[in-house]
Amino acid sequence: MGESVDLIIESIPQILMGLGLTLELLFLSGILGLMLAITVLLMRISGNPLLTWPAMIYIYIFRGTPILIQIFIIYYGLSQFEWIRESILWTLLREPFGCGILALTLNTGAYVSEILRGGVLGVDRGLLEAGSALGLSKRHRFIYITTPIAVRLAIPAYSNDVISLMKSTALVSTITLLDMMGYARIVYAETYAPYEVFTSLMVIYLIITWIIQRAFGLFEKRMSRHIRK
């Protein structure tokens, strides 16, 4: 047993070499995904069928299929097509990193746009009526009434999605990227001690999860100053 604990601790430095990539994937996909989600949300609630239908289809596809498949289609699948290999997209799609970012961004974008929509739907109709009665335009109501309230409502679900995103980054190890999971698999291949290596990896992920949750907890607290129970 003592041997196991040593092994758990020894694997940590090597696994942490992948931390940079894990965080890079998390932040880049997170931010791009959020921007995509806001765009898709505005399309979804625009009322214009030309915008709502593509948005709904995108959300449906990316929430209805496993993210592993999405990663595989983008990384392995797209290389099947000559016209892709010959386009400028290929610079992005040739590398597993680009594919990974693309897949993660598209995936989180679909989930987050639904989360934001949930926030928007959660805004009390009465407040919007009051805004209308005061003469505020649709745009004003959306910016000054809906958005602040919807954001606060969406924070818990959004923080869960960020954690899901972090967990999904581990999947890029299946397309040869060396994030933390990727390094863990290398250590496992060297030591044949999967249990210990994967345990230390798990502990590291749990620490990151805890940090994310604390950060969002503080953010939510700040956004909720105006509420007293």
């Binding site: 009465g126 209308s132 005061l134 335009s137 105006h226």
Partner: protein, 248 residues
């Protein structure tokens, strides 16, 4: 005394929710400075009627003319009407994420493009008018129901409306807070504000109203001066309603 210049005209107004007819051939004229109380059983269409006046609901037939502007689908017509009309809701609907003073300043700054200092001055004077200037920097959740409703009245007044609509303003309040709101409304009435008030507060109707309108099943059944209305109801349905609410 009121000028006999009509500021609100409803002519043969119908309103449907799907198959259900909420308003049926509504004809109503409100003159400048008049104070109208609308009462009636639940589902009689009283809220629907006043919500049609500022286009929170869309009427299906007939005409609604407010301050000379006819209410149509056109945004500019709707905006023109909403500039004349202020509304106070049963559930206050104060913006929870803004302070009281910000609640009051939001619309004047965005809609009338009033500069901040001027908007603030007006807001503070309205808060004084409803007697709670010291709450300016607080958030709605920190105020009692009665205070919140008074803020809601002040907020509507900051837009300088010609007409005020009240949709059961005291129905969501604990009994001990009803009077503070009715007092503010009475002050407004004394200053000559044209108002339509949907309410169950018959004492208020008796003391403040120029006319009481009774609605039932989407129709206006009876309209009369308060004295006449309470002592000498004409229709059976009115008599029934009055006996039900005045029994205790």
């Amino acid at each position: 005394m009121s000028d006999s210049e009509p500021v609100i005209i409803l002519k043969e107004v119908d309103k449907f929710f799907g198959d259900f007819q909420a308003l049926s051939k509504i004809n109503l004229i409100v003159n400048k400075g008049e104070r109208i109380v609308v009462c009636g059983p639940s589902g009689s269409g009283k809220s629907t009627m006043i919500r049609c006046i500022n286009r929170l609901e869309q009427h299906n037939a007939g005409q609604i003319i407010v301050g000379g502007h006819e209410l149509t689908d056109q945004v500019k017509d709707i905006d023109a009407v909403r500039r004349e009309v202020g509304m106070v809701f049963q559930s206050f609907n104060l913006f929870p994420h803004l302070t009281i003073i910000d609640n009051l300043m939001l619309a004047p700054r965005l809609v009338r493009k009033t500069p901040k200092p001027e908007a603030r001055e007006k807001a503070m004077s309205m808060l004084e008018r409803v007697r709670i200037p010291e709450q300016a920097e607080k958030y709605p959740s920190q105020l009692s129901g009665g205070q919140q409703q008074r803020v809601a009245i002040a907020r509507a007044l900051c837009m300088n409306p010609e007409i005020m609509l009240f949709d059961e303003p005291t129905s969501a309040l604990d009994p001990e807070m009803i009077n503070e709101v009715l007092d503010v409304m009475t002050d407004l009435a004394k200053e000559g504000m044209t108002m339509i008030c949907v309410t169950h507060e018959m004492g208020f109707a008796r003391s403040v109203a120029d006319a009481v309108v009774f609605m039932d099943e989407g129709e206006i059944v009876e309209r009369n001066k308060p004295e006449e209305f309470f002592n000498n109801p004409q229709h059976e349905r009115t008599k029934l309603f009055l006996s039900q609410i005045l029994a205790h």
